[in-house]
């Protein structure tokens, strides 16, 4: 499946694993709960690691492990839950995370500009036909009033 990363359409290399699914080869994305549970095992995984965080999660739990993690997915259960915007800001602004931060789940096409400003640099669409919309909406505004990550 294709996603947007750094303003371009690319192939997604990650496999999303449920908490009870067996580890697969290649790049994988697991929940924060699973990361905490299977941390040692996962550190030995040969592919890249992605961790999914939910609005109710605490980014501080991940702060000391960020060097092992290539991708953090902000998994929107509800587009109106703005905590994930602060999580993104904290990951970039406080913990200086340099890897990929990707929006997934039920965020709105109309939120991608804001998401990009708090440090989200990748977007997984619900449907492939949303890819051009995301690319376009990333440029909703050419001006800004306040500092954030971008």
């Amino acid at each position: 499946m294709q996603i947007i990363k750094d303003n371009a359409i690319i192939e997604d290399t990650y496999t999303t694993l449920a908490d009870d699914a067996n580890l697969t080869s290649g790049d994988i994305s697991i929940s924060l709960a699973r990361w905490k549970r299977d941390r040692e095992l996962l550190l030995a995984h040969p592919g890249k690691l992605g961790v999914r965080i939910l609005a109710a999660d605490t980014t501080a739990d991940l702060a000391s492990d960020l060097k092992h993690i290539h991708l953090i997915e902000l998994d929107f259960a509800d587009f109106a839950d703005g905590r994930l915007f602060s999580h993104a800001w904290l990951l970039r602004g406080r913990y200086h995370y340099q890897g990929e931060i990707r929006a997934t789940g039920h965020y709105l096409m109309d939120q991608v500009f804001y998401l990009s400003r708090v440090g989200v640099n990748a977007f997984k669409p619900a449907k492939a036909e949303q890819l051009p919309t995301i690319l376009a909406n990333l440029h909703d505004f050419s001006v800004k009033y306040q500092p954030s990550i971008v």
């Binding site: 609005a55 587009f79 109106a80 839950d81 703005g82 905590r83 915007f85 602060s86 800001w89 602004g93 406080r94 709105l108 109309d110 939120q111 500009f113 804001y114 998401l115 400003r117 708090v118 909703d140 505004f141 050419s142 001006v143 800004k144 009033y145 306040q146 500092p147 954030s148």
Partner: protein, 550 residues
């Protein structure tokens, strides 16, 4: 007044374009009702009982004549010829068509206006003192800081999906005319011992279902740290404010449940990590301040002899002067209120003709500027005393000179059941009935400073819980009933009103109000205000009389 630069103009135009797309997506079925609801609310568009309602931002209550004429034009072309001023200094149109709202936004953008963040769970319009810059008790003009906050809050990427709405009010005077203690954040300009301007920051105030008075979280914040401190509060609120129950989602509940001390520690810890590097420079503050330099006042304004003569010759003018004008810091000038509380029209409403006429008056007499107040009136803030008589004559012919500012008929009122889909009960009709019962202006003046606030439901848009007399419409088995409270205040001695007793029926409200006023007139001590008397005697004497026949 703040004038847009290229960046400001680009922002409102791009926002209008974005909203046009969102509307089109919704009409094409590409956005669900829920999704579009969140987006349209962030643009001030509610779906009301009869039609959508569009709320337009009036930053800290400041308008120029060109903008007022644009509002008149929109009232004519897109609405039914009138608009409504709100308790947060904004303007509402009650009859726009959803499909045409993008066109309204284009019209607004052409005069540096917009409806960004006038509703929804985001940071709302920053409000302030309606006498800012002219008040005699002012420490410093709050408007430059309001504008700095306005810009910071506008399209803030991190804080647009908060647990609930978020309101900031700023006061720069000794008397709080902006109800700052009843806002999510209240900002007071203060001076420290060294004479430097800074801010006292209050947090956790609010009205609605659970009215709470804000508490001081920081007695003195250096001026340069204003935005980092706001950011720290907002980040803590965004992360920890309750999202499980919308009636417990305001910051006041977070502060209450966490405790001020612990909440304050969380904010300060966050703030310490971000404050360096986010400072407001003196240069930036000066750039914004330059937009609010005083107009070119006539140095000879106080030489005028005509005012004294007209005041003694014309009692009606003298009465208007006494109630509807306020002292001005410049000799020979007054701030003139435009009462939107004529007895026979809904509080806060204005017709297109009145809007155009007031724009002309502003150009002629007040440097082209108009202010809206949180009690739903307008002000021409810089009127030469020699011009007051002709201004009064014109306002009288426009039905905008009812001499009732600060009196019992200067009632704050929400649209109520007539327009609002949230309301449980009518409010405009109740207010009209009270007005009819109080049609003796001498009696009204004798009663003096009594503030009645009337809301049609417990969301409390008309701030009934801080009215000296509060009236709250409730639904009881399909009938409209009204709860009365006494002793509330949104001023320096902010207080939440106490319930008088059981709700009264629709046909008993006016009687209850006139009875309360009668008790006051009979039992007050010399020069004692209504609020002071309620403080002295409590609610019992009022309660006994109001419920005497039950």
């Amino acid at each position: 007044m703040y004038q847009y630069n290229e960046q400001d103009q680009t922002l409102v135009e791009e926002r209008a374009t974005q909203y046009r797309r969102q509307t089109e997506d919704f009409l094409k079925g590409e956005l669900t009702e829920d999704q579009f609801r969140a987006l349209r609310l962030r643009n001030g568009l509610y779906i009301q009982t009869h039609a959508p309602m569009l709320r337009i931002a009036v930053p800290y209550g400041l308008l120029n004549s060109k903008q007022l004429r644009k509002l008149a034009h929109i009232a004519r072309e897109f609405d039914k010829g009138y608009c409504h001023f709100t308790t947060r200094q904004n303007v509402q149109f009650n009859w726009p068509e959803l499909e045409r709202v993008p066109d309204i936004l284009d019209e607004l953008a052409s005069v540096q206006m917009h409806s960004i963040q006038t509703s929804g769970n985001c940071m709302r319009n920053t409000t302030s003192d309606h006498l800012a810059g002219v008040a005699i008790d002012e420490i410093e003009d709050p408007r430059p800081y309001c504008e700095i906050i306005r810009q910071w809050t506008t399209l803030h990427p991190e804080f647009d999906y908060l647990p609930r709405k978020f309101k900031i009010a700023v006061s720069g005077a000794l008397q709080d005319r902006a109800a700052t203690q009843l806002h999510d954040i209240g900002v007071h300009l203060v001076k420290n011992d060294a004479g430097e301007t800074g801010f006292r920051i209050l947090v956790g105030g609010g009205l609605g279902r659970t009215p709470i008075i804000g508490q001081v979280i920081r007695p003195f914040l250096e001026r340069k740290h204003l935005l980092s401190y706001l950011e720290a509060i907002l980040r803590i609120y965004n992360l920890f404010g309750r999202r499980d129950n919308k009636y417990k989602a305001r910051i006041k509940i977070l502060v209450k449940e966490t405790g001020l001390e612990q909440f304050s520690e969380m904010v300060e810890a966050e703030w310490r990590q971000i404050k360096d590097g986010m400072e407001l420079t003196d240069e930036r503050i000066e750039v914004i301040k330059a937009h609010f330099t005083p107009p070119l006042y006539d140095a000879n304004a106080s030489q005028d002899q005509s005012l004294a003569a007209q005041l003694s010759a014309n009692p009606a003018f003298a009465t208007w002067y006494q109630y509807n004008t306020a002292a001005h810091r410049v000799p020979g000038y007054r701030a003139a209120f435009i009462s939107l509380k004529a007895p026979d029209s809904p509080p806060g409403d204005m017709t297109d003709t009145q809007l155009d006429a007031v724009a002309d008056l502003a150009d002629r007499y007040s440097f082209g500027k108009i202010r809206s107040t949180h009690r739903q009136n307008l002000i021409l803030a810089d009127v030469k005393q020699a011009d007051l008589f002709t201004l009064w004559q014109t306002l009288t012919s426009l039905k905008l000179a009812t001499p009732n500012i600060g009196t019992v008929t200067d009632i704050i009122c929400c649209p109520g059941l007539d327009f609002c889909s949230l309301a449980n009960a009518g409010s405009i009709g109740v207010v009209q009935e009270i007005n009819e019962a109080l049609d003796n202006i001498d009696y009204v003046h004798d009663i003096g400073d009594v503030k009645i606030n009337m809301s049609g439901c417990m969301n409390g848009c008309a701030h009934q819980s801080v009215g000296h007399i509060g009236i709250l419409g409730v639904d009881k088995k399909g009938a409209e009933w009204y709860q009365i409270t006494l002793g509330g205040s949104s001023e320096n001695e902010a207080a939440i009103g106490e319930r008088l007793g059981p709700a009264v029926a629709r046909d008993e409200v006016t009687q209850a109000i006139t009875t309360i006023l009668d008790v006051y007139v009979k039992q007050r001590q010399e020069e004692e205000s209504f609020l002071d008397m309620v403080k002295r005697v409590g609610i019992t004497p009022f309660k006994e009389r109001v419920y005497a026949d039950h």
